[in-house]
């Protein structure tokens, strides 16, 4: 298996000079074809920036991001992305939102072929009853399913997911996790999941890499999840291997969290100020009282 994605000493910052805000620092990462990688990190640690450099919406400030050995320049239909906030077009129905993607990827198909393809993917995420509804009329979970159907219908070689289930309730989240896994295992594409939920990563991924909190976030050590698929949520909780990895990752993250708290408090330099009330000039009422 060859490397499909490579990050080579990638750094990213916004602005320049005194206004420069560093986000990611010295990211090195290799993804093998067909693997499911999860990157976990705290909110605001630059996860979205990382995934946007892969999708081609952002360019690295330094270093290179390679996809199939070529540096990424702009977006490509080979790399599909599920956005954090669904990003459905509110003026289109469920069908039309998926159709937009299908028309973009398979412009040469006949109308009938496209129609069948669109319906197949909407059915896959169980949204056929809501085919002609607008996103406004759907619940959060349904909207996210549309976003999932939209990406999967384009059959990308690399599936990027930017906290796709972050805004959902536990039940819907569980259902969608299973649906995504089912579809992923059916055609074994490479997948990158960005999440802030360790359990989600543990359930879905082959490998978890924590992202250390920013500024200047960098990747931590990798954790291999050597648990057989399909994974059953209830059975996982009693699996000794799984428990071990889970504890390791959680410990690592807790340490990270505490370390970042410590480094943050270090940066505060308290000014050496003395109260001036002794002179009494500025606060005459204090003088009177004493």
């Amino acid at each position: 298996m060859s490397a499909i994605v490579e990050f080579k000493n990638v750094s990213k910052w916004y602005g320049s000079g005194a206004n420069r805000t560093d986000v990611l620092h010295n990211i090195n990462l290799t993804m093998k074809e067909g693997e499911f990688l999860a990157i976990v990190g705290f909110t605001g640690s630059g996860k979205t920036t990382l995934v946007n450099m892969l999708s081609g919406l952002l360019e690295p400030s330094e270093g290179e991001v390679l996809f199939k050995g070529e540096p990424i320049k702009g977006t490509s239909l080979d790399r599909g992305i599920i956005f954090q906030n669904y990003s459905l077009l509110p003026w289109f129905s469920v069908y039309e939102n998926v159709a937009l993607a299908v028309n973009a990827v398979y412009p040469s198909w006949t109308k009938k072929q496209k129609d069948e393809h669109i319906r197949k993917y909407i059915d896959m995420v169980n949204l056929t009853p809501a085919l002609h509804k607008k996103p406004k009329e759907l619940s959060g979970g349904m909207r996210q399913r549309v976003a999932v159907a939209r990406v999967l219908s384009t059959d990308p070689e690399l599936l990027l997911m930017d906290e796709p289930l972050g805004a959902l309730d536990a039940l819907t989240r569980g259902n969608l996790q299973e649906e995504i896994l089912k579809i992923w295992s059916a055609n074994k594409r490479t997948a990158l999941l960005i999440t802030n939920d360790v359990d989600e990563g543990l359930l879905m991924a082959d490998r978890i890499i924590p992202l250390q909190p920013g500024p200047n976030a960098t990747l931590g050590p990798e954790f291999i999840i050597d648990v057989e698929r399909p994974r059953d949520k209830t059975a996982l909780n009693t699996d000794p291997k799984f428990k071990e990895v889970r504890t390791e990752i959680l410990n690592y993250l807790v340490e990270l969290g505490e370390a970042s708290k410590l480094t943050q408090s270090d940066t505060y330099v308290l000014p050496d100020l003395q109260p001036k009330i002794s002179s009494g000039a500025r606060f005459p009422f204090l003088k009177k009282a004493s």
Binding site: P90, W91, N175, N237
Partner: protein, 364 residues
């Protein structure tokens, strides 16, 4: 064991989601008591308004009458003053004080205008009946038909005004929306057009009218087109288009970044990007602009007709003012109400259109 309670049951979850979606779709219950109260308050305030108007008009009438008598007394003596007073009291048309008409006078004037309209329509119908045979002959001979050239009634004037404002509105849309889209899409163009918009937006309708007059007069020198209609509708269009122009360019240039990202990720072409992503996203703002354009067009129209001497409500008001008949003032007030009500109705129509095309709720 929280996880144990999460079996794969997408169908039941789906039905739950559907129910939620459906419940959001149900229209809100209309509170009849509340709306009844609202109507009651509106009616009451109208009554109060009419009372104040009536009392005020009566007072002004008295002031005007007294000053008339006083003037006669000073210039012509007591006998003349008594004569004037008697004349005013008798209600004779020739010596009525010229002031704000009372609500009843306005109501009478409105009825007069309606009867006048019926008379004129009848005359018109009779005229066409009379010339029908001649017109058929002229048509066969390839000549233009004879048309009725008599005085237009008040109702005719309303329709002329509506026609002018409609044409003006269409002209402004034809100019403002394409330009708005172009300058919204392109930063360079926006900078190039910015001074033009900033400078010409505040220009008064009068100046636009004169400018259009200069150009159209020369262009239509040797044609038998309805020049005054062309001039007034183009001027209305030019005065009113700015709101749509600015709103369109703002709407197009401030599309939600998420939607642009979708277009980028799906590698949509320029045409698709504009028509499937940018324009739909800008539509609520464009229609807000169009709504403002319609109300500005209607407001400006009256002033322009008044100046351009083109037929319509504006020239009706001006002619009545110049006319100075004893019910002229009342007719002007009738026109005022008609103008106001039509303006309100136009705004409502645009509001409904705006709501029907918008994917978000428009602000009333």
């Amino acid at each position: 064991m929280k996880e144990a309670t999460i079996p794969a049951k997408p169908k039941s979850a789906l039905i739950g989601n559907l129910k939620v979606a459906l419940s959001q779709l149900k229209p809100a219950k209309i509170d009849f008591g509340k709306s009844l109260k609202k109507i009651g308050i509106s009616l009451l305030s109208m009554l109060v308004f009419l009372c104040i108007w009536h009392v005020g008009a009566g007072y002004l009438y008295q002031v005007e009458a007294q000053s008339k008598i006083q003037k006669a007394l000073e210039t012509q003596g007591a006998a003349a003053a008594a004569e004037v007073e008697a004349c005013i009291l008798s209600g004779d048309v020739s010596c009525q004080p010229n002031t704000l008409p009372s609500p009843t006078q306005v109501w009478t004037a409105a009825n007069t205008l309606l009867i006048d309209h019926q008379d004129i329509s009848q005359k018109k119908a009779e005229f066409y009946e009379k010339v029908a045979a001649t017109n058929a002959q002229r048509k066969a001979a390839g000549q233009a038909a004879i048309t009725y050239t008599g005085r237009p009634s008040f109702i005719d004037q309303i329709f002329t005004s509506l026609k002018t404002v409609l044409v003006g509105f269409l002209i402004s849309m034809l100019i403002a929306i394409p330009i708005g889209v172009f300058i919204g899409l392109n930063d360079t163009l926006r900078t190039a057009f910015n001074w033009l918009i900033q400078v010409f937006k505040p220009v008064s309708p009068v100046v636009w009218l004169l400018l259009v007059f200069m150009i159209v007069k020369t262009l239509t020198l040797n044609s038998d087109l309805d020049t005054s209609f062309i001039i007034s509708s183009i001027s209305v269009g030019l005065c009113a288009m700015w709101a749509t122009l600015v709103n369109t360019s703002v709407g197009v240039s401030t599309v939600n970044k998420d939607y642009i990202n979708v277009a980028k990720v799906l590698k949509l072409g320029v045409g698709k990007k504009i028509f499937k992503v940018i324009l739909p996203s800008a539509i609520p703002l464009i229609f807000t602009g169009m709504r403002i354009t319609v109300s500005v067009a209607w407001m400006v129209l009256i002033a322009i007709e008044l100046l351009a001497q083109s037929p319509g409500l504006g020239s009706f008001v001006w002619e009545e003012f110049q006319n100075g008949a004893n019910d002229s003032n009342a007719k002007i007030i009738v026109a005022m109400f008609v103008i106001g009500i039509i303006g309100f109705l136009l705004d409502r129509v645009m509001f409904w259109v705006q709501q029907s095309v918008s994917f978000e709720k428009a602000i009333a």
